[in-house]
């Protein structure tokens, strides 16, 4: 496996369970020591980093890791105390993910979504340069998932690097500058979601229209579409219902490349 992640990039690591995503992430984070090859992180070989490495990275696992008998605020305080970079405004962060009213509530009384949100801000409160998020929107309703995605994009804007592991192709498409598809421990393709979607899609426009009370659809080649009389004729004479270009979705690409469904 050979890949690089640029500073300030959101890099998506996509693949089915057992493909090697977690192992790769564990290697980069430093939880697996015996490896062959090179892993250079933040300008240094991984095995040469000590515990100071963790001052500069933030990790949010795909399940909440919280002191359940402590309140939201206590959780942030206790873990935050281990970092040199202290969270300046924990209440603001809690407010950002809608947890300020519950800051003094014990985590055992939180829903899974609330725990995931708290888990997420706990992983970034020390202002890390490099972040690892595993299914960051798992268990969240669309509104809260949107907030988390917004925060991730803000981090990117601030020049931070994000390593995102997910099964959620929509999240990957919305957030990632580049994605890598992993199957059986190998990267089968890597690139920007948009480029991949165009590369693996059909160069057609699908038009759905109504004529004489009947719903019809037709595909037209994208090439020279402006001079395609059939296409222009439909636009002029029919009631258009939908028009879609034929780029592939990330899920289509995955199935095409691996012959497997995302699990």
């Amino acid at each position: 496996m050979n890949f690089d992640v640029q500073e300030g990039e959101v890099f998506g690591f996509l693949g089915p369970s057992g493909a090697g995503k977690t192992t790769t992430q564990r290697l980069i984070i430093g939880l697996l020591r015996n490896y062959n090859g090179k892993i250079e992180v933040l300008g240094k070989e991984r095995s040469n980093w000590g515990k100071d490495f963790y001052e500069q990275i933030g990790v949010a696992f795909d399940f909440p890791n919280l002191y359940i008998k402590l309140t939201a605020r206590e959780n942030l305080q206790l873990i935050g105390a281990y970092y040199k970079n202290k969270a300046e405004k924990p209440d603001e962060m809690l407010d950002r993910v809608g947890l300020l009213p519950e800051k003094n509530v014990r985590v055992e009384n939180f829903s899974k979504g609330m725990k995931m949100r708290l888990n997420f801000i706990r992983s970034i409160m020390h202002n890390p340069r490099l972040m690892f998020f595993d299914e960051p929107t798992s268990g969240l309703d669309p509104v809260n998932a949107h907030i988390i995605k917004e925060i991730i994009l803000e981090q990117k804007k601030a020049g931070k690097t994000v390593f995102l592991t997910t099964h959620n192709m929509t999240v990957a498409e919305q957030l990632c500058d580049r994605v890598a598809f992993i199957v059986d421990g190998k990267i089968v393709t890597i690139g920007s979601p948009k480029d991949l979607m165009i590369e693996h899609g059909k160069r057609v426009v699908k038009v759905e229209y109504q004529k004489n009370g009947t719903l019809l659809d037709q595909d037209f080649e994208l090439k020279d579409i402006g001079n395609n009389s059939g296409f222009l004729n439909i636009l002029k004479t029919s009631e258009i219902k939908t028009i879609h270009s034929g780029e592939a979705t990330l899920e289509d690409i995955f199935i095409k490349l691996t012959g497997r469904n995302l699990l």
Binding site: L31, V59, Y67, K69, L70
Partner: protein
């Protein structure tokens, strides 16, 4: 600083999970039972009770604490934080030692034991608590359930506590002092029944050395089994 924060976090954790309450209840129960004992039995039983607190109870407490941390996934977060393994382990030792010392002092004070070397009680409780907390962390390293921990604890308990019976005295029984638990109990009994300062110093030095080596071993095992699962 991180060590202080970790100790504070552990104390909060133990308090919220009711460990302190359990200690208070056990201490009160001990005091009630001790108050009914005749003088000659009381003078032997009280030091043994004080010794059992950081050893037997401590072993179960540390097991419970780490299993709770594992269950809540907190251990994973600590592993990817700047907190060093040694700091994590020392925080456990310090936090549990603090309650052990408080319990030992409370039992001795309220039990109204007539002759007491308070300094020696504190020293022997700290050492005993450290040994058994470290032992608990070692035992716990490969465990995920309470049952696993209990089963794995038995041989360690036998190894450390059975030799303590040598203190009843028989030819060459002094050889058993090589067992740290026996040395610690000797020190503890000395705090109540009197001990030569040379012997107390030698036992303390021996036990401190043992604690240091045990700490190094605990860090090694903790990193192998918990931090790096490779």
């Amino acid at each position: 600083m991180r060590l202080l924060s970790a100790t504070w976090a552990d104390m909060r954790f133990q308090l919220k999970h009711g460990f302190y309450l359990v200690y208070v209840i056990i201490t009160i129960t001990y005091l009630i039972v001790l108050s009914f004992l005749p003088e000659n039995i009381f003078s032997v039983t009280l030091p043994l009770v004080v010794f059992s607190d950081p050893s037997v109870l401590g072993l179960f407490f540390i097991g419970g604490i780490i299993l709770l941390e594992k269950g809540q996934g907190v251990l994973m977060v600590l592993v990817v934080s700047p907190l060093r393994s040694q700091e994590y382990i020392l925080a456990k030792v310090i936090s549990l030692t603090i309650i052990s010392v408080l319990a030992a002092l409370a039992i001795t004070f309220f039990g109204q034991y007539p002759t007491v070397n308070w300094l020696l009680i504190i020293i022997s409780t700290i050492i005993t608590s450290a040994i058994f907390t470290l032992l608990g962390i070692i035992i716990n390293a490969g465990c995920n359930t309470v049952n696993q921990y209990m089963l794995k604890t038995i041989p360690y308990m036998l190894l450390f506590l059975l030799p303590c019976l040598s203190l009843v005295g028989f030819p060459y029984s002094w050889l058993f002092t090589i067992f740290p638990s026996v040395a610690a109990l000797k020190l503890m009994l000395g705090a109540y029944h009197g001990i030569y300062w040379v012997e107390a110093t030698a036992l303390t030095a021996y036990l401190l050395g043992f604690c240091y080596l045990l700490l190094r071993l605990t860090v090694k095992i903790f990193e192998k089994e918990i931090v790096f699962q490779d």
